[in-house]
Amino acid sequence: MERVPIIKIGSTLFVSIQVDLDDEGIMRLQEDLADTLTTSRARGVIIDITAVEIVDSFIGRMLNTIGSISRLFDAETIIVGMRPAVAITLTELGLSLRGVRTALNAEKGLELLNGTR
């Protein structure tokens, strides 16, 4: 199982999910991210899910959990690049991801992070 790389740029952690993650994969990402956040002193996390075509309720919930974990380290999570079909699925599942912010693409996500600081 390949790991999702976490790239640190300045005070932002950049996570680009390029494969359809299974439950195990997203759990590992959550652990990795928590580890990185403790050491990196990052202020923001951008999770790019442009390539993700399928989500289920578990992944939806984990994205929220990642948001809550980041907030404990005083970092804001922004989910970027969600596909319309994914957004519709999450809405139908009743998951509105209240714990995280969203942006259309990585650039806008970065603007959002910088704007709030």
Binding site: I78, I79, V80, M82, R83, P84, V86, A87, I88, L90, T91, E92, S96, L97, R101, T102, A103, L104, N105, K108, G109, L112
Partner: protein
């Protein structure tokens, strides 16, 4: 189709009196179409059909009956599309019976054959009618899609602001389409603000509100903010009476207000020149 001797005798009769029957048949059909198709065209259709019918009835050609039905289907489809009534379409084939009956008249030896033949023609007429109604159903389905497409435009109001003017009742199917089109437009235009104008939505009940909330929620997941505009006084009263909560979604009375709000949210401002 079973081809027996009687059919064979009738086939011979039809072949012998071909001109006479076809002429009379043609006259009868031209009488019913009231000038919407020229007599020449009717004659051509009848000649084609007659030839196929003879081939089918002679029993020599096994595919002829299938061809006959196919021709009939084609004919019924074009009649349905050109706005002919079901009776007019069915009469096109049924009048062959009249034409034949006039000729066969009282001659006793062909009565049995005529009955068998009549049953076959009835069967074909039923087939015509089925094709006719299937075509009509298809037309209705096409129009429904067209109306659905027409009624949900997504317009660009400003750089980074798109608008969705909703007109007509918002049912589940339309709500779904609106959501898809809005999300696609957000992605393709890179807009961060969307205005949903419900001036043209006659009533807002809990179901419609639910659809709107879902759409706004989905747009939020893409990182876009929605403003709902065009709330009329009666609609506002209904919303409050039903206890519908729009939460933190901005709602405005007019599209102008919503545009101003969106511009401000996008960090833009319109002032006097």
């Amino acid at each position: 189709m079973e081809v027996d001797n009687t059919q064979g005798r009738m086939a011979t009769y039809l072949a012998d009196h071909r001109e006479k029957i076809a002429d009379r048949w043609c006259d009868l059909v031209v009488g019913t179409v009231r000038g919407r198709i020229s007599a020449v065209e009717v004659r051509r259709e009848i000649d084609d059909f007659y030839a196929l019918l003879l081939r089918a009835m002679s029993g020599a050609d096994e595919q002829a009956f299938g061809e006959l039905r196919a021709t009939l289907e084609e004919l019924s489809r074009s009649r349905a599309r050109n706005g002919f009534t079901p009776s007019e379409t069915a009469l096109g084939i049924l009048s062959l019976k009249d034409a034949l009956h006039e000729l066969v008249g009282e001659s006793a030896e062909l009565v049995g054959e005529y009955l068998t033949f009549s049953r076959m023609i009835d069967d074909l007429a039923l087939h015509t009618f089925e094709t006719y109604s299937a075509t009509r159903e298809q037309i209705i389905a096409e129009q429904t899609t067209a109306v659905l497409e027409l009624s949900t435009p997504v317009v660009r109001l400003w750089d980074g602001i798109i608008g969705v003017p909703l007109v007509g009742t918002l049912d589940s199917a339309r709500a779904q389409l609106v959501m898809e089109k809005l999300l696609d437009a957000l992605v393709s235009s890179g807009a961060s603000q969307a205005v949903i104008d419900i001036t043209g939505v006659p009533t807002v009940d809990t179901e419609v509100a639910q659809h709107l909330l879902k759409t706004v929620g989905a747009a939020r997941l893409l990182g876009a903010e929605c403003t709902i505009s065009g709330i009329r006084p009666q609609v506002a009263q209904t919303i409050v009476a039903l206890g519908i909560e729009f939460g933190d979604i901005a709602t405005k009375a007019t599209l102008a207000d919503a545009l101003e709000h969106s511009l401000r949210r996008a960090g833009l401002k319109i002032g006097p020149a």
